[in-house]
Symmetry: C2
């Protein structure tokens, strides 16, 4: 791949445009507002946020930053110091209807002057209420994307998501997982940069059809105050994961990243009730039973 | 101090009782519900939570835990391994009225078989709206408590609170601070255990009169939706501090502490809006101007 940096960057930018257009169509009312920003050390990004009728708070961020990585940071991240370049697209959508899941997607590329490069990314789902057929549809869709490139991708990246999106202090997964991968390159996968890049693009392009199908199934279901309250409590868990355990969020906040873009992932409103436990046999209790590692949804 | 462990523990328990009674009287409606718990490794606690008419969500926790500290944990905490004992009282009150401040208090005692012991604690205030005369009253009250024991306490512990309750990624203090101190013993203060213990008791006893006066001044002020929204946003900042920066919370969650007691500090409801900025000249903007280190309130 010659000049992969600009090729990937442009593709990511176009993906952001594409997804924003699709989401505006889907929502039918909300419009993304762009906030272009520059980074002191080099580069910048386009944060786009919408408040719609279906999407209560949604963010689609593109960034491409570069600069010099200090010895200290490089060591902490187990990479070589010096000039680096990083670009990516991140999405988090918090729907209004508690019957719709929260969705998150991220794809990213990194390279440095030491000749290191890698891709990372993933898509994962956090339903307020786990609907088994939707969870199966979601994982089967991701598995189909993965299988086009390597039979090992889905099992490996699915397990990685289970481990990554885990709220240790609650002994719960954040949601039903999905796929997650980081620092994928030729050395550790045995696959070419071209193939990995195609995989990352496929993950990026899979987002809209999957989310549109979930919206078609769930976004107009009737709801009630019990469900709204449960949604607010589950959003509280989302906050807990992102602020306590998410490595990307922690790294961003500790290294003086752009706070508003990083915390775009937080829900519009969240709630905490001391030691809340759903009634035995309720659909809230049933959802909790699904929030564990190792559930095989892609049957 | 002979048998300081049981003396301190009993005093802390009585303080919890006293504060709960006072707060129930003050609220006029809410009653504390107790949740007694045991710790697998040894000891336990009494978590008490109330939902009242003035206090939307309040927690007053007592705990006394003991066990064996591993070499690894001891090293991370820069102390000696082996048998330890730790007891404390923690309070966080989230008021309903945005004109009332959020208040936090903690006092604690630690000892181990290596002969180490220390006290820690503090009180700090997080007004949704900074009212200058109240901020002065709060800091003057704390200074008066400190000055009874050592002229150096207030300046040192006030600066410590400014540094501790700092939301680095927002470049804001959590509120207007107060006093904070940790690991105070004979070696590092040059003061006797008796004197430090009296100071800790005085800090503990100062809580009710201070909070009652703030309630008298503010809890029945009329409010409006703009203020309620601002309150929810400030509560979001409270969540950010506690989950991202608070050393006690992080340590508790990472070492498998009792999650519900640790996260009792979180507000009942919180809100996040992308890049929210109050109008120039508004009272919200004025509050933000006060959220910095080094403001001298105890004039």
């Amino acid at each position: 791949m010659t000049d992969s940096r600009s090729l990937i960057t442009n593709w990511f930018k176009n993906l952001q445009d594409h997804i924003c257009t699709q989401l505006e169509d889907l929502d039918g009312k909300g419009k993304f507002i762009e906030d272009a920003w520059q980074r002191d050390g080099g580069g910048g990004g386009r944060s786009r946020v919408m408040q719609g009728q279906m999407i209560e708070k949604g963010g689609v961020n593109f960034s491409a930053v570069h600069g010099e990585m200090s010895e200290k940071t490089a060591k902490a991240l187990n990479m070589s110091a010096g000039a680096f370049y990083a670009t990516g697209v991140s999405i988090v959508l918090h729907p209004k209807n508690p019957n719709m899941p929260i969705i998150h997607k991220n794809i990213r590329y990194f390279e440095n002057e030491g000749g290191q490069w890698w891709f990372g990314g993933g898509i994962d789902l956090t339903p307020h209420y786990v609907v088994e057929v939707d969870a199966q549809f979601f994982h089967q869709s991701l598995k189909a994307v993965c299988d086009r490139f390597h039979a090992g991708f889905y099992p490996k990246h699915k397990a990685w998501a289970d481990d990554y999106f885990y709220i240790r202090h609650r002994k719960e997964t954040r949601g039903i997982g999905g796929i997650f991968f980081d620092r994928q390159n030729e050395q550790n996968t045995g696959l070419s940069k071209e193939l990995l890049w195609e995989y990352v693009q496929a993950v990026g392009m899979s987002f809209c059809p999957i989310y549109e199908e979930l919206a078609r199934r769930n976004s107009e279901k009737p709801t009630n105050p019990t469900e709204k309250k449960w949604q607010a409590l589950r959003r509280g868990r989302y906050v807990e994961f992102n602020l306590v355990w998410d490595a990307g969020t922690k790294f961003g906040l500790e290294t003086d990243g752009r706070t508003e873009s990083i915390l775009m992932s937080l829900p519009p409103k969240a709630q905490w009730i001391y030691d809340f436990r759903p009634k035995i046999g309720s659909k809230e209790a049933k959802t909790l039973e699904f929030l564990k590692k190792g559930v095989n949804w892609a049957l």
